[in-house]
């Protein structure tokens, strides 16, 4: 990617060119051009990703790690090459620290069910934040219930920022793990995870980062951060659904029991005793989502060629523009006004229910999310049932925000 990298520092951000890479964007819905502003839910896929999956099925579909035939060797190579791409993308020390999962949810459950069941005991505490997605709450609740451990919650302020002093008070000798999101999907807040990790480590506590929302927007270096686990989903970074990654430090992963038993995760099996395979295979039982892995590799190539930093800068411009434009509508209340934010704007509109906003916007071609964003505790914290949420991706343009604003005004007219 040497040429692509050089390109990324010298060229201007040609968003119109990038848009053309996403076939789905060039269409009308309800007779008007699609304005896709639901990127925090899932991103669209560039042609290179679609074609990488397509090519696998057309030209070298085979199972991996078991065939001696050519197609199997090609598939295995593509599958393992992608692992190295991911390793480089998040700067992991070792490609064996990259475990393929179905997504963030499975990655977190994997840690809860293996590391957690082995290391968490009655009376221990696990710390999450008040802005977590349900997938970084429920697996820990299940573990705590099983073990008689306690789930504690780091509170947030009215802007949607973690209260770091409270966090420090909550880390005690009983704390076993801090599990926090890097970026909140409901509020857009970027959490100071480097500080969190540093503090937790100073107390001997491990840290899991939910990277679902940060991976497409922030350059992540797991070694610099020194996080113990980092989970993300392919589909939020322009890759297919059904594929994700759990990063874990080698020593931790190596000491953890397997998650699921089956083929591919064993070194040898007899009815008396099974010895498990080495990392990463120990955690990859069964035939994986090979096409998805290949698609994820292609997506990371695509994103790297543009440059995550440049994408982040573009999205930040959209965030600033969008925040200003929406703030001019007096009925709008933006939920989540942290100083450090990713390209997510959650809002309420007077008394109009977000679901009604979503329907009326949809009719005008604007796709946003309306609901509790799988973060009901966040909604409770702000005393609202739901929000409408616009979230930006690398292909969005300011004109689309203008369409959003017009569509919101129309919504106000309907309910006037």
């Amino acid at each position: 990617m040497a040429t692509a990298h050089a390109e990324s520092t010298t060229q201007t951000y040609d968003v119109l060119k990038y848009r053309k890479d996403f076939p789905i964007l060039n269409q009308k819905v309800h007779g008007v051009p699609l304005v896709y502003l639901d990127n925090a839910a899932t991103t669209q896929k560039p042609l290179s990703v679609i074609e990488a999956e397509n090519k696998y099925y057309r030209e070298y579909n085979a199972n991996i790690h078991r065939g001696v035939h050519l197609l199997s060797q090609q598939a295995t190579k593509a599958y393992e090459d992608a692992r190295v791409k991911i390793q480089k993308f998040i700067n992991a020390a070792n490609s064996a620290e990259i475990i393929y999962t179905r997504g963030t949810t499975e990655g977190i459950n994997l840690v809860a069910q293996t590391w957690g069941r082995k290391n968490v005991q009655a009376g221990d505490e696990i710390l999450v934040s008040a802005m977590e997605h349900h997938s970084n709450i429920v697996p820990w609740q299940m573990l705590c219930e099983e073990k008689g451990a306690k789930l504690k919650v780091i509170p947030i302020n009215d802007a949607g920022e973690l209260l770091m002093d409270e966090f420090k008070k909550l880390v005690t000798s009983k704390t076993k793990l801090v599990a926090v999101t890097h970026v909140s999907n409901a509020l857009g807040t970027i959490n100071p995870i480097a500080d969190i990790i540093q503090y937790a480590h100073s107390k001997g506590v491990l840290v899991l980062i939910d990277g679902a929302q940060s991976i497409p927007h922030i350059k992540v270096d797991v070694q610099a951060l020194d996080c113990d686990f980092y989970a993300f989903s392919g589909h939020k970074i322009y890759a297919p659904t059904g594929i994700g990654v759990l990063y874990g430090k080698y020593k931790l992963l190596d000491a953890m029991p397997p998650y699921q038993g089956g083929g591919d995760m064993i070194a040898s099996v007899t009815f008396e005793k099974t010895t498990y395979a080495k990392l990463p295979n120990k955690f990859e039982a069964g035939t994986p989502h090979i096409a998805g892995v290949i698609g994820l590799g292609a997506a990371l190539d695509y994103v790297s060629a543009i440059g995550v930093d440049r994408i982040a800068a573009h999205e930040h411009e959209l965030l600033v523009y969008g925040t200003q434009a929406l703030s001019k509508i007096k009925e709008i209340r933006i939920i989540g006004t942290a100083a450090m934010k990713a390209g997510v704007i959650s809002f309420t509109l007077g008394e109009i229910h977000p679901h009604d906003i979503g329907t009326i916007l949809d009719k005008q071609g604007v796709a946003i999310r309306a609901g509790h964003h799988c973060a009901q505790p966040v909604m409770e914290r702000f005393d609202i049932p739901a929000t409408a949420r616009a979230s930006f991706g690398l292909y969005n343009v300011k004109e689309e925000i203008d369409v959003l604003v017009t569509a919101i005004q129309k919504t106000l007219e309907v309910f006037a």
Binding site: H355, Q364, G371
Partner: protein, 156 residues
């Protein structure tokens, strides 16, 4: 485009702004709670049935989107004074209408026919039918919260 009158008809907007039979009822002899996890709509439905099975009074309270609120409000108006069998009958007709299972809305639904447009908004069918499912649960005195996402195949 930009025509929302198929869904957000004036009558619906009026009921969502000024819901009828809204608020708790102290002399109810049947009640049930309903919940739509998709949009967080919550409502409690109260019924006062006499021995002959006539709905003497009906109220609801709760919060939700315009469609669910208007649907609850218009349902209470439609059902007051009706026999429970009639209520069940209307429930099934309403359900079939919003699910798009029947060509033309049955005449006896009366004003409730304004919800016919819902069938073109699959994401909103649950909003329109929540109050009705809850009413049915109240008739049968079901204790569990009625959820539009309870895995019982309550698709609308």
């Amino acid at each position: 485009m930009s025509d929302f009158s198929d869904l957000y008809q004036d009558l619906i907007l009026d009921h969502q702004k000024n819901p009828r039979n809204f608020g708790e009822m102290t002399d109810a002899n049947h009640h049930a709670d309903g919940y739509n996890p998709l949009c967080g709509d919550k409502l409690t439905l109260y019924l006062k049935l006499d021995d002959a099975g006539t709905i003497q009074d009906i109220h609801f309270k709760g919060s939700g989107c315009a469609i669910s609120k208007a649907s609850a409000s218009m349902m209470t108006v439609a059902l007051k004074g009706k026999k429970t069998a009639e209520a069940e009958h209307l429930f099934h007709e309403f359900h079939d209408m919003v699910m798009g299972k029947i060509e033309k809305a049955p005449e006896d639904l009366g004003k409730l026919k304004v919800f016919e447009g819902v069938k073109d908004y699959p994401a909103r069918v649950k909003c329109a039918s929540l109050a009705w499912h809850t009413m049915e649960a109240a008739l049968h005195n079901e204790k569990d919260v009625v959820s539009t996402d309870d895995g019982k195949g309550m698709e609308g």
